[in-house]
Symmetry: C2
Subunit: 348 residues, 2 copies
């Protein structure tokens, strides 16, 4: 178990060492450590640090931030990230959305030519302390086919929605539009464990529960043709509307592509609650509704009904108290990276 602060300090140093400015390193590190604290290790330093470092060192992603606001209106903005770190573009876009929604009102901002921005929830949640409802979404390289197709045309294309509460924890919904992530298929393949029906297709587009067949195949969208529609809408909003990559045009993602910029697009929105209702009245109503859901009759054998985001909040409290677990293989990678950069990884 590693204390978050120790990992944070080390990660910031690593990013600065490879050319990232201090401010950007702080921001990027916070997005990754926060994902680890929330138990979303797929978006934490555990999976992302070495990949980001390699991308920056190979020049596939720019260490220096180079954002340009190319269109700006009272309630909208488009920021060209010019291959800056995804988190830097996302932070600026979400800040702008919040600023523009403050009068009060709503705002919708977008970034083009960007990179992986970490966990989507991190950006939507920025709206919460402002008394706003936050939204964020990004497109991603293709992993799922349109309904009836057998070519991967859509990424997991996640979106997040954050809704403020008063005494209750806020609602934080963050979901990929595929039933499961690719990592889940990989895990089942390693364990020779059949998939649940509806998770994946083989490479001809036929449903399969065999994890090895699914590895070469396609992820299934949530709700069949409904999820296909959502994926398509996310790809068109994030990719087409920003003039970034979309559909089959990605050169691959993260570790799979160390030669070309990813060129994803992302969108962000903020809805100022005061546009519609006084904030205390709204957050009290949210509290009441959340209590009603949490105390509603449980299904047989179920101990507890969770609100979206609740598991992550509890995980964060736990990991702040007891530290972040890091798999041994990842520790070895961190030790090697630290040695190479002259910034020793602080072992427990």
């Amino acid at each position: 178990m590693f204390p978050a602060d120790r990992l944070r300090d080390w990660t910031q140093e690593v990013f600065q060492k490879i050319g990232v400015s201090r401010d950007d390193a702080v921001l990027l590190t916070d997005s990754l450590i926060e994902a680890n604290l929330r138990g979303v290790d797929t978006h934490g330093i555990t999976r992302m640090l070495c990949v980001y470092v390699e991308r920056i060192r190979k020049g596939v992603m720019s260490a220096k931030s180079n954002l340009v606001v190319v269109r700006e209106k009272a309630s909208t903005a488009l920021i060209d990230c010019r291959n800056s770190i995804g988190q830097v573009g996302a932070a600026r876009a979400m800040e702008l959305a919040i600023e523009k929604a403050r009068p009060p009102g709503v705002a919708f901002t977008a970034v083009s030519h960007s990179n992986h921005f970490g966990a989507s929830a991190y950006w939507a949640m920025k709206a919460l302390p402002q008394g706003m409802i936050g939204f964020s979404s990004t497109n991603a390289p293709a992993a799922a086919a349109p309904t009836g197709g057998s070519t991967a045309m859509f990424g997991t294309n996640p979106f997040a929605i954050a809704i403020p509460a008063d005494r209750e924890l806020p609602v934080v919904l963050d979901l990929a539009t595929t039933v499961v992530a690719r990592g889940r298929i990989v895990l089942h393949a390693k364990q020779n464990k059949p998939l649940e029906p509806g998770w994946a297709f083989d490479e001809r587009g036929v449903p399969t529960t065999d994890p090895h067949t699914a590895m070469k195949g396609l992820l299934a969208p949530i709700g069949g043709y409904k999820g296909y529609g959502i994926m398509l809408a996310v790809d068109f909003l994030c990719g087409l509307l920003t003039g970034s990559n979309y559909g089959t045009h990605f050169p691959g993602f993260l570790a799979d592509n160390m030669t070309e910029p990813t060129d994803v697009g992302s969108v962000f929105a903020a809805i100022n609650v005061e546009s519609f209702m006084d904030l205390p009245e709204f957050t009290a109503a949210v509290d009441k509704a959340l209590q009603e859901i949490k105390t509603s009759t449980r299904a047989e054998g179920v101990k507890r009904i969770y609100i979206p985001g609740e598991i992550e909040f509890e995980m964060k409290a736990d990991r702040l108290a007891h530290g972040i677990p890091i798999p041994e293989a990842v520790i070895n990678d961190f030790v090697a990276l630290g040695r190479e950069l002259g910034i020793p990884f602080p072992q427990a």
Copy 2:
């Protein structure tokens, strides 16, 4: 087969006869006939006309429109519908969203204390001729439980997104957040046909494929806990943010409740494409992406890959040419209603 125009004229007369103004009758009728033309008969006069008429005649829904804009900002508006016809509130809210997004920018509007607004797509599509991306959503009486629960806390809570194209048909996504509609369960029960896994739960919250058990049980959200999260977000945005009903607080819907107003809330958004990209550039990119999807490799045994909304556009062309089919039981209801009101139903 009934020509749309003949059904339209008769329906308008029926609504006017029971106290709806001419303008509102034209609007309401268009929303219903358009649903029938698009093949969405669940939201056409085939299912809704007699229900709407009964609600108005019993005084559960107001024939007269009584909209009040209670909060209005540059990019937002909240309209209190005061139990007016849902379509009348939705039309005003979508018009306001489009007007506010014109400068260019984005806008987000909401209605409170409203009624069933017809098919969600109808409102999102209003944005298309304006060079905008449209969004609409509504909450609805509970039919699905939170993940792990066995009490219905969420409606089918549909949303629609419409994205303009140039030569291609626009993208029109309209989906309920349950895997299937209740009508599908009813149909399987009538035919004693097992449900597909993942469609429904029994009344204790346990998954079932028995249609009769499911009839007393719960609809499943798309993507399990993911769909639960989307339903919750729709309910909180449409219900809580507008101060309308939500969760378990609905008195029942449509035909199931002829004593109290439904009191649903709905939200609408318009994104002016020009805020981000010149419209012709965007619609050309949409055309290209749609072509890529439609011509991508098909899964085994699949004849064609459809874009969301495409089936409905083709259905509309067909029904404009050949008429709208109406089941015999519904024709009988129409004949009886027409006789009662002194507006004979125009048989083929």
